[in-house]
Symmetry: C2
Subunit: 364 residues, 2 copies
Amino acid sequence: MNRTRLQPGDTIGILGGGQLGRMLALAAARLGLQCLVFAPEPDSPAFQVTAEPIIAAYDDHDALRAFAGRIRAATYEFENVPAETVAFLEKLVPVRPGSKALGIAQDRINEKQLAREIGAMTADFADIPSEDALRKMLPQIGLPAILKTRRFGYDGKGQVRISSEAESASAYAAMRGQPAILERMVAFQSEISVIAARDINGTFAAFDVTENEHRNGILHRSIAPARIKPNAAAEAIDIARRLGEAMDYIGVFAVEFFAEDFSRREVIRVNEIAPRVHNSGHWTQDGAATSQFEQHIRAVAGWPLGATTMRASGAEMINLIGEDALAWQNLVAEPGAYLHLYGKAEVRAGRKMGHVNRLLAKRP
Amino acid sequence: MNRTRLQPGDTIGILGGGQLGRMLALAAARLGLQCLVFAPEPDSPAFQVTAEPIIAAYDDHDALRAFAGRIRAATYEFENVPAETVAFLEKLVPVRPGSKALGIAQDRINEKQLAREIGAMTADFADIPSEDALRKMLPQIGLPAILKTRRFGYDGKGQVRISSEAESASAYAAMRGQPAILERMVAFQSEISVIAARDINGTFAAFDVTENEHRNGILHRSIAPARIKPNAAAEAIDIARRLGEAMDYIGVFAVEFFAEDFSRREVIRVNEIAPRVHNSGHWTQDGAATSQFEQHIRAVAGWPLGATTMRASGAEMINLIGEDALAWQNLVAEPGAYLHLYGKAEVRAGRKMGHVNRLLAKRP
């Protein structure tokens, strides 16, 4: 079943109707593939670009069964889709990437363990099932440290920085009883990510390494290629390749790294794996021969991957968060600015409303 | 009313649901604009990429009124939309381009007269309201000539070549009583087209001139820039600018020319005006900073036009007609080939199923 190749006209099911699902559906349309989006929120941005919405809860088995009956393969646009939903669907239709990859990427401990297994470095970390464990592990991991929920964190949510041992009680309380992971904070020079893909035959392809700048825990700007040494870039891509293999991955995924510059050599540590298209890959829409969205759709359809070459010496992506989107009139009038808006009616603080891509005449 | 500027989230109405409407809707989605497609055919390709279809006849006034109530501006994807439909809609909502442009472009005589008025050359032509008129005008126009219906022709339909006076009766019969135009056949070296746009302020922009190769009356291949002398290219663009002004045009339009090479000087003659995005502009999707579809949506929305610079030294577009589309597996595996499929279920001879764009490292 996992060798299924779709034909033009076939339908891909997408769990999740946010901007990533929307941009996946737009990429699929160009290739003559249809998308059916399954999401609980009636005002999902992806519903605007597909013929019929499936509005249902992720644990609605009847709705999932009917959904599976109308699609030839499924994917998801976010890693917080319930693992049970994917496991249920997987019995009925190929789901790409599968539940194995999802199980790893949904859990920060699994992620880091896999990274270490394949020979990559990570920050020092410890499993924190209780407040007691936190108190015990804090001296071992060292300060400053960061306490994160193992699951369901994104855009800096579910994270607390710990600067002194006195903060451990309040930090643990912020986890609200959820299993947590304690990580030594990395004094990184830069954050980088690899947007990579694997097709149904295991062929691997990666875009140029991206460098990311966050503000308030949310991605603000990405540039490509990242300003790191060539051997560090090659190592990051090779780690992504090995992670993809270990997860039997089909589709696009992102690996985020911290890069520490020890002048003669850059050390990179795996921070997170996202089993999906990723905000730091949005520049590929205008800056690469194939966009990450098309690349994912190709993999999900069982088609060969597209070329990942850059279309300019450099590219940048800037997120439009909340009121940033009110500047659309300037952006739409700026020659060479590629404006992408997600069709979200309400501007809210911290909400990703769109992004703008620019090509750079020089390598960053 | 004709100064209306849309906001992100607003809805554009599109009359016609073919591949042009589909690609317009995809371009609008990127900019956060919604599209509502009005078309009589339930299986219209554009319905696959929009949230809700309006399936109704173009003369259904109730449906048109309801449609107008849900959109902030309207456009059309083909020039054979009834003029009355556009005139009716225009009273309710801005229609871009308006009925004046449509009235000219729908009629080959009006088109040629306008071209001559603004100082451009055309083939010699004569209005043919009757078989008698044909017999009288044939010696004056000269042979070989071509008899065309004044209206509703596309892709070589409604055209008959006349090589001798003996053929005039059968040629006239092929018009089935429709008003016709007789044109002297031009011994052209090449066919070229200008894809141009005007915004609501009258600002004009054109893409690089395109060179077109037809097979069986249907566009087979376009390349840009056209292999014509720079002064001929500049003249073609200037003619498009003057035609756009004369039509008070808002949106994208195409002007097709015949180019005759008299070695020291190229003579270009206006052949046709298409008041819409055009097959010979599909290369702009991957080969220009702004696609013709985005350009049209920008104009219809009252937004500024985008940059028309090429993204490579050259670009080509090849149409996938009928069974050509069965080669999709090769095309999707070809690095650097940008495949576009229209979501048409049934492969039929002569049916436009998709196209493929390629960038060229060298100017053609």
